[in-house]
Symmetry: C2
Subunit: 364 residues, 2 copies
């Protein structure tokens, strides 16, 4: 039990907002309601979270004109069609432009809820209540919202910042091991891209995260959010440095799209992608063999996959990577590591070198 | 033939952009290409415009990696599903975040193209080439993009500003009378809401617009865009004064949604709605009978409708008006005229007075 709630700020001038991190935050109703500026409130959640937390969450908000919508759980449902369901719900309830949408769930719910909030009547208030480790350390912070297209992951969306992020560590008790590990993949990413000290801490303490030790989780979530908030404050719309947050993601998105959304969790695909990015960094002369081994080792300790799906061919991989948002004029651009703890801005990568990496990390 | 091109600016700091108004602008290729910062260009147009202008438009851009998509023409096709078609086209062509989308068409194409540009990879470059009078004087300027929902007009969208607006008066030669009149409805609106001198000019010269006199069109388009640009610069996201641009639109949107998108042109529905708003302004003690008569008369001179569809009941009207974006907590808020040439910020309207207006302007 941790009593100390941490509060960080994503510094974006007039659109700055707090991230609250701590235990039992969902029972502290004022934490949430101080950010609701309307009578009309829609809670968007999914079939996994609803039976666990929805009823008590709604009871805390009983003074509002309250609606809820329960979407199916999984990346394969992160589509324009399900966002349209949210619009229909909002319109049927005659919700106006001053309404508030609360996303209570993991990354999929946060991305879809945020995109719905961005587009409904050209923008309504939005609060993130992330319930997975991945959402708490990564996807709920920074304003990237959107849905997948059958031809590409996260290809449709908006930059749309929430009014607040409430990360309640207590809800992680009900998170299954696979989801937990997927979240740890993004935590490791922060160490790799800009926080060597944190990476060293993770090398010592990673099993504490796997065991859901609350103090360790609180520290890792806070440290991850600090890193993310700093990058987002510097480059909200990813015209530069923000791209380093995508270490491993171009590979990861290709995996998720290529094998079908929902087969791999996002964090699992990112784990594989980060190992590929590490190998590529080695081939380009930045990392040495020992660095790559350290990186692969830490993912393995969390039981995360480190090899590509065996049914994803190199040609298909490259075809999928060609639609990545970082590319320019059909040239694949990737994030690589200059060293552990420091990522570089996107660089164009020769196809022959990329193919070597893809071949060497093909699952069997 | 007018040789003088006019250039206005929508002043939004770092996101300011020019509006070019003149004849034969589509043949001045540099006017367009100076705003294209990419190799990849998608032209979005419709089945009416494509046979008239698409081929020569594309020939002017032959040095680019060029794609085009032709959507069906009409408000009933302004849906999320057709925007998804644009995404699919962009992804199939492997277009990246630095691509440019050009909307070549009327308000529907501009709204859909702009929304697609806002959401594709969270935002790509966007240029408006409006080909209807309504789009040239109103919808292409100011960054409102979006689509309709079966339960409400323009309920899904984004504020997303173009890089430039190119309004070529020459293309209005092929515009049919009904479309022309619909555009004049929005022109009259600018006189009513904030430009009494312009309204007086219109009372003298409106038949010249109906006859497509180029000098008169050029003047009216420029004056309309000047008014719109001033309002948008003051209040981009409609937190205040921008709402006056919606004079007559709450009624108009209810008509369009109520009878089915595409039956009335947007400008026709706005003409009816503006007459209703004028009547309401009279009932609230702002306008006198003579004012209302002047307003109705000018719409009639353009052959625009001034009475509601006879199959739209008052109850259904009110139900539809309850989802309007200006409403707060289920109270209908409307724009009324303090006098001809001056609109007021949205005010809450008593249901009994609203019903009187709706009853009196019911078509028979």
């Amino acid at each position: 039990m941790i009593n100390n709630m941490k509060q960080l700020t994503v510094d974006l001038g007039g659109r700055s907002y707090p991230i609250y991190i701590g235990t039992q935050l969902l029972t502290q109703v004022n934490l949430l309601t101080q950010h609701i500026k309307s009578k009309q409130v829609l809670v968007v959640t999914n079939t996994t979270i609803a039976p666990l937390y929805l009823q008590s969450f709604l009871e805390n908000l009983s003074t509002y004109q309250l609606e809820s919508i329960i979407l199916p759980d999984g990346e394969q449902y992160k589509t324009l069609a399900y966002v349209e369901n949210i619009f229909t719900h909002l319109l049927t309830a005659k919700f106006n432009r001053n309404a508030t949408l609360i996303a209570l769930g993991g990354g999929v719910i946060g991305d879809m809820g945020g995109f719905a909030a961005a587009c409904y009547q050209r923008g309504i208030n939005f609060i993130q209540v992330p319930t997975t480790l991945l959402a708490q350390v990564d996807s709920s912070v920074g304003g990237k919202t959107g849905v997948n297209h059958i031809l590409g992951k996260n290809m449709i969306g908006a930059f749309y910042q929430p009014q607040a992020v409430i990360a309640d560590i207590s809800v992680l008790k009900t998170l299954d091991d696979r989801q937990l590990a997927a979240g740890i993949a993004e935590i490791i990413k922060y160490g790799l891209i800009r926080d060597y000290e944190f990476f060293e801490w993770l090398e010592v303490n990673i099993e504490l995260l796997v065991q859901k030790d609350e103090q360790s989780l609180a520290f890792a979530i806070e440290r991850s959010c600090l890193n993310k908030a700093a990058v987002v404050a510097e480059d909200e719309h990813e015209s530069g440095i923000r791209a380093i947050l995508n270490l491993g993601h171009t590979f990861g998105h290709a995996i998720e799209t290529g094998v079908g959304y929902g087969k791999y969790l996002h964090g699992e695909a990112v784990a594989i992608g980060t190992c590929l990015a590490a190998d590529l960094s080695r081939r380009l002369g930045y990392l040495n063999d020992a660095d790559v081994a350290r990186i692969i080792a830490i993912f393995k300790r969390v039981n995360l996959p480190v090899l590509s799906p065996k049914n994803l061919t190199v040609n298909r991989y490259i075809e999928l990577m060609l639609v990545d948002k970082k590319n320019i004029e059909g040239i694949i651009r990737l994030i690589v590591l200059e060293k552990i703890g420091k990522a570089m801005l996107p660089i164009s990568v020769e196809m022959s070198i990329l193919e070597q990496t893809l071949n060497d990390y093909q699952g069997r």
